[in-house]
Symmetry: C2
Subunit: 261 residues, 2 copies
Amino acid sequence: MKKKEDRLFLVTNDDGIRARGLEALIEVVRPFGEVFVIAPEEGQSGMSHAITVKHPIRIRKVSEEEGLVRYSSNGTPVDCVKLALHKLLKRKPDMILSGINHGSNSSTSIIYSGTMAAAIEGCMNEIPSIGFSLLDYSPDAKFGSVVKYVEIILRRALEKGITEDTCLNVNFPVNSCHKIKGIRICRQNKGMWKEEFDHRTDPQNRDYYWLTGEFHNLEPEAPDTDEWALHHNYVSIVPVHVDLTSYRALDQLRKWDIESG
Amino acid sequence: MKKKEDRLFLVTNDDGIRARGLEALIEVVRPFGEVFVIAPEEGQSGMSHAITVKHPIRIRKVSEEEGLVRYSSNGTPVDCVKLALHKLLKRKPDMILSGINHGSNSSTSIIYSGTMAAAIEGCMNEIPSIGFSLLDYSPDAKFGSVVKYVEIILRRALEKGITEDTCLNVNFPVNSCHKIKGIRICRQNKGMWKEEFDHRTDPQNRDYYWLTGEFHNLEPEAPDTDEWALHHNYVSIVPVHVDLTSYRALDQLRKWDIESG
């Protein structure tokens, strides 16, 4: 394992440079090495793996002190990671940490998540990466009860390493009445968002819509899923990869008898 | 199999309502059933699975004729699918078709793709979905040589069905000198974008950056991948699912001995 003074962490999020969850993550990471932060200037929730190609990207140095530099950017979380890796950092970071997100990224919510997209981008660049999320959407969310687990997971990841082509999706439960029970290694739960649109009319009498929705768990009784773990007050860790191939479906597709040439 | 008059297709893209590729797709689909189009007002390339939560979404009816309605929206491709499914359509479509994209969505490019995000959103809503992309980024790309294959694949998908929780990522090669050789069922190639940033200074002497990049194929000799098929002038079909769990990594993670409670 590398010495602390040789380690470089890249830290980002999708809630923006001023988010409490980002500060909580920075505080946990600092004792482990040098920290380079680049996060969106404003919140970028729901941006998924979007990249900015239609307008110029700008960056701003926010602060600099011993072992900690902070930048912000008008880009997406994935833009932030790309900027750091390919423009701002002189060497490859040892690990990319994203979060702590204000809100859940468990189950299929991962697909929409800017926080997890940043971790996935790290993984695509062959850098061990972890995304952390707390099941509390409030800007005032309290991270005090979960930083202990961030540290446990970070320490273990540095010791043991993360499987190649994989990053980790870590979610923390929120339950003010009960203490967190422990940590579970899980698979991604099967679930979907049942969307609704709040239909309104503006002062010029034109229609507009706000996206709203409710998560439906399609396998609430499956104890090996992240949703089950979180619902039962465990921290969930799902190993995530970027190969979207459904190997199960390959066989069915071959029966289409459509291949030729 | 349903009769033509009972079938409803939802068609979208990420290049916008005026894109040639969208028109090419509409023309192929029309003989198979009723077509409902909703596409972004402007191009939304690189938007991945982004959803709009910070500003209101608006829609506009573009045209209406027998068996074909066109809407546009200021939202992302995924917003378009959500609007259609949860607000605009009176019944669930039989299939969602996205594209034909101007540019490749093979290998890991799928992660950044708005075209494929729309198909994945369909799959998450338990609707058979296919994304089509042509390896030509030009707005004037010629789709004449590939519409035949869109029709073959569409016909087979209607006959045979698509495996549950799976959508299809179809890419077409571009090679003006040689005819397309046929169709291959493939897995997602392992590759990555090596990014660079074009650093410029604006008239007010402020720095800004444009994202550029080059794709690196990490397994150019693997004949079961989409990249190989496309490079050898085949149409590639990759079955794609939304479970990002790396089952291979679950075992390694369990050896961390971090589970408790």
